[in-house]
Amino acid sequence: MNITSRLAWRNVWRHPRRTWLTIGAMVFSNALLVFMISIQFGMYELMIDNTLKAFTGHLQVQAVGYKDDLKIRQVVPDARSVAERLRSELELETITVRSSAFVLLSSEDRSYGVQVFGVDPEYEPRVSSIPGLVREGHYPTGRDAQEIVIGKVLARNLRVGLGDELTLLGSGRDGSFAAAVAEVAGIFDSGVTDMDRSIAEIPVGFFDDVFYMEGASHAVVIVTPDLASVPGIKSRVEASLPINEGLVVHDWDALQPGLKQAIQADISSAFFMYGILVILVAFSVMNTQLMSVLERTHEFGIVMSLGVTPGRLGTLVILETGMMALAGLLLGALAGGLVTLWFTYNGFSYPGMDQMAANFNLPSRFYPQVTVLTLFLGPAVVFVGSILSSLYPALRLHWLQPVAAMRAV
C-alpha cells in the first residue's frame, strides 16, 4: 500500500458518520437498481420466450405482404417441401408449415368468427406450445384427419366438448366458398384468454382440401435454439430460398413488432428513473467530497508548500471516492442480490400485476434471476457516476494557493 492510498483510507474514516451516510446512499440506490434490473430483464426474456414459443416462432418464411394483409392468396408455394429442405439444410427439426384462414365456426347452438390454422401434427408440437397445452382429448395425429383443436374459452362459448362436430364456413384460396365439418379432438388451455378464444387448429392436409391450397401454405415457421442464433439462421434461410418467388424471411421483431417496442418503451422509462437515482447519488457524493476538501484546506496548503503537486492531491480525493464507491458497489450488489434472491424463491407480485401480466403473456407471479449482468450493471454506473462527481472537488485543488490555504482556518 503506497502512501497515497494509505492517506486516502485514513481520510475516508475521518468522519465515519459522513462516510457511512454517503455509502448508505450508494447502497440504497445500488440495491434498488439490482432488484429492479433483475426483475426487468427477467420479465423481458420471459415475455419474448412466452410470446414466441406459444405460436410465432423466431423466423417465418412468408409471401411478401402476407404479414400485414393476411390474405389467403399470399402463399408460400409447395411449402412442405420448402420446410423439408430447410430441416435438412439447417439440421433443425423445429421447422413447420402453417396455413390460416378466417372462418365462421359453428356448433349446434353457437357461431363465432375465428382464425383457423392448418398445422402439421408431426412438427407443430416442436415449434408451438399449444399442442402441449391440450388438456382434454388429443392433438390430431394424421395430416388428413378431419379433426379440430380449439381453445378452452372458444369451446365454452361454442358449447361443445370432445367428439362434437363443428362447421367451418369461409372462402378458399381461389375465392370460392369453403365449408367443412370437423370433430373436436382436443381442447387447449393456455391461460391467455385471447388465445383461448380465438385460435382453432386443423391438420394441414385437411386444411388444403377445404381451402384449395394445392400444397401451398402461408408460412414456414422456424424456432431457433436461442435468440442469439436468429440472425445467423435468418441469412442461411434467405440464401436457400428460391429467388423470384416473392418470398421473404421475417424475424420475430418484424412478426411481433409490439413486443420489441413494448420492451423499448419500458426500458426507456425505466432508464430515466435509474438515471435520476444515479444523479441524486452523484450529488450526495459531490457534497461529501467537497466538504472533505474544504475542511482540509489548511492541511492541503501545508503539504503543497512542502512540494506535493495539486495533481497528486486530486488523485487522493478521487481515490477516497473510489474507496467509498467500491464499498457502496459491493454492499449494494450484496444487498440487492440478497433481496432478489429472496424473490427468486418466493416469487414477486404486485397488486394489479396479474391483469397487466396477462397482456404480455406473463405469469402473475414472477421469479427474478440474479445474473452477473443484473448484479453489476446498476452498481457499475453508480460507481462511475460517483467518481465523475468527485472530479469537481478534485480539480478545484489546482486553484489552491498554498500560502492563502495555510492561513485558512
Binding site: 468522519h15 459522513r18 451516510l21 454517503t22 446512499a25 440504497f28 440506490s29 434498488l32 394483409d69 390474405k71 392468396r73 384462414a101 378466417f102 372462418v103 365462421l104 359453428s106 356448433s107 347452438d109 353457437r110 357461431s111 363465432y112 368468427g113 375465428v114 382464425q115 365454452r156 362459448n157 358449447r159 364456413l169 369461409g170 372462402s171 375465392g175 380465438s198 413488432p257 409490439g258 413486443l259 420489441k260 417496442q261 413494448a262 423499448q264 418503451a265 422509462s269 430515466f272 428513473m273 435520476i276 444523479i279 441524486l280 450529488f283 450526495s284 457534497n287 461529501t288 466538504m291 475542511e295 404486485y350 397488486p351 394489479g352 400485476m353 391483469q355 397487466m356 396477462a358 397482456n359
Partner: protein, 409 residues
C-alpha cells in the same frame, strides 16, 4: 416567539455560510422534485389516456347486459327490455347519454377476403351521445338513422378486405335459432381509431337493419351509459341499477375491463412508490449535509448554549435549516417541472414504439398530465419525511454539553 424568530434568522444565515454545499444540496432536491413531478405527469398522461380510450371502446361508464352475455356474447343472450322501453325509461330518468346496441360476433366478407369482427347495430343518434369509437369518420359518411342500410367499417379493415366506399360486403352471423343469418350491406363510411386493432375489430350498422337480419325484433345486447366523471361512477351505477331491476347485469367500466380498472390503482401505487424512492435517495444527502453543518459548528453551538439559548432553540435552528433547504429546493423543482411539462402539452410523439404501446393499450402520442393532487403529494411527502429525517441530527446538536462543545477542537 422571539426564539422562533432568532432561530429562523440564524438558520437562514447558516444556510449561506457554506454556499457551495447548499447549492449542491438544492440542486439535488430540485432534480429530485422535478423527476417526481415530471415522471408522474408522463405516466398519469399515459394511463388517463388509456382509460379514456378504453372507456370509448367499451363504451360507457356503466353497461347493462344479460347476465349470461359477457361469458357468452351470443345473440341468444339479450337484455330483457326492448330498445324502445330502455330509451323511454332512461330519458324520463334524466339520463341523456346512453346507447342501446346489438353486439354480436360476425364474419364480414368482401369478394376477396373474410374476417371475424364484432358487429354493432347502433342508433347513430344515441351512439354519438356516448362518444364511442367509430364516430371519427375519415371517408364517406356515418350512419344517418337506426334503419340505415349502410355499414361503417374501420380504415384498416377496409384495406385488408380490399374494399372501399360504395362496394358491397356480406355480413354473416347467427340468429337465436343458430341458423346462419346473412345480409349484404354497402360500405358507406370508414372510421379511424387510436388503436389499429379497434379499426379491424368493429363494424357498425343500423340497429333496425341488424335486428331484422337476426330476427330479434327490437331487443338489444348491450346498453352503454355515460356519466360525467369516470373516476366516480357510483351514483350513476346506483341509478342504472334501480332503472334496470335485477334481471340484467349492471357493471361499471372498471369491472367490465379489469385491466383498465386495475391500471388506475396500480398507477396510484406507482406514484407513491416513486416519490418515496426519490425521497430516500435524497435523504442520505440531506442528513449528511445537516450532520456536517452541525459538526463544523459544534463550538458555536456550545457557546450559544453557554450563553443561555435553550436546547429547543438549537433544535429549531437545525430543523429550520433543513426545512428551508427543502422548501427552496422543492420550489425550484416545481417550477422546473411545470416549465418542462408546459411545452409538451401538445403531446409527445412516441410512434416509433406505437405497436409496443398498443400492447399496453396506450396510444402513440403521450400527453403529460399535471395532476394537482400528485404535485401536492410529492411536496407534502418530501416536507414531512424531510422533517423527520432532520430530527436526528437536530436532536444530537441540542444535546451537546456546553463546556465539552466549546472546548472541542
Amino acid at each position: 416567539m422571539r426564539v422562533i424568530q432568532i432561530s429562523f434568522v440564524l438558520a437562514w444565515r447558516n444556510l449561506w455560510r457554506n454556499h457551495r454545499r447548499t447549492v449542491i444540496m438544492l440542486a439535488a432536491i430540485s432534480v429530485g422534485a422535478w423527476a417526481m413531478i415530471f415522471m408522474t405527469a408522463l405516466m398519469r398522461g399515459m394511463v388517463n389516456d388509456m382509460v379514456r380510450d378504453g372507456i370509448r371502446a367499451l363504451p360507457g361508464h356503466v353497461q347493462v347486459h344479460n347476465p349470461l352475455y359477457r361469458d357468452d356474447p351470443s345473440v341468444s343472450n339479450l337484455i330483457a327490455m326492448s330498445d324502445v322501453e330502455l330509451a323511454e325509461r332512461f330519458s324520463s330518468a334524466g339520463i341523456e347519454r346512453f346507447s342501446a346496441r346489438v353486439r354480436v360476433p360476425a364474419i364480414i366478407s368482401s369478394e376477396r377476403e373474410s374476417r371475424g369482427v364484432t358487429l354493432l347495430g347502433v342508433d347513430p343518434i344515441q351512439e354519438q351521445s356516448v362518444d364511442a369509437i367509430g364516430s371519427t369518420i375519415v371517408a364517406g359518411t356515418g350512419l344517418d338513422t337506426a334503419a340505415s342500410n349502410g355499414i361503417v367499417i374501420g380504415r384498416k379493415l377496409a384495406e385488408k378486405l380490399e374494399t372501399e366506399i360504395g362496394k358491397r360486403i356480406v355480413i354473416m352471423s347467427q340468429d337465436p335459432d343458430n341458423e346462419v343469418a346473412d345480409r349484404g350491406f354497402r360500405v358507406i363510411g370508414l372510421f379511424e381509431a387510436n388503436l389499429a386493432i379497434q379499426e379491424e375489430a368493429f363494424v357498425f350498422a343500423g340497429r333496425q337493419a341488424i335486428q331484422e337480419m337476426l330476427g330479434i325484433d327490437d331487443r338489444v345486447s348491450e346498453l352503454a351509459v355515460m356519466g360525467d366523471d369516470y373516476r366516480d361512477v357510483r351514483p350513476l351505477l346506483a341509478t342504472v341499477r334501480q332503472l334496470m331491476g335485477t334481471n340484467d347485469e349492471v357493471l361499471p367500466w372498471n369491472e367490465l375491463d379489469s385491466y383498465l380498472g386495475s391500471m388506475l390503482a396500480v398507477m396510484d401505487g406507482f406514484v407513491l412508490v416513486w416519490i418515496v424512492v426519490i425521497f430516500l435517495a435524497l435523504s442520505f444527502g440531506l442528513v449528511n449535509t445537516l450532520v456536517m453543518a452541525v459538526f463544523e459548528r459544534v463550538r458555536e453551538i456550545g457557546l450559544m448554549l453557554a450563553l443561555g439559548m435553550r436546547p429547543s432553540g438549537i433544535l429549531l435552528q437545525i430543523v429550520f435549516e433543513s426545512s428551508l433547504l427543502l422548501i427552496i429546493g422543492l420550489a425550484i423543482g416545481n417550477v422546473l417541472a411545470i416549465a418542462s411539462i408546459l411545452p409538451l402539452r401538445g403531446g409527445i410523439d412516441i410512434s416509433i414504439v406505437a405497436e409496443g404501446m398498443e400492447m399496453f393499450g396506450a396510444s402513440s402520442i403521450l400527453y403529460p398530465e399535471l395532476q394537482a393532487s400528485d404535485v401536492v403529494l410529492a411536496n407534502v411527502v418530501v416536507l414531512i419525511l424531510g422533517f423527520f429525517a432532520s430530527l436526528s441530527p437536530a436532536w444530537r446538536a441540542s444535546r451537546y454539553e456546553p463546556v465539552e462543545a466549546i472546548t472541542k477542537v
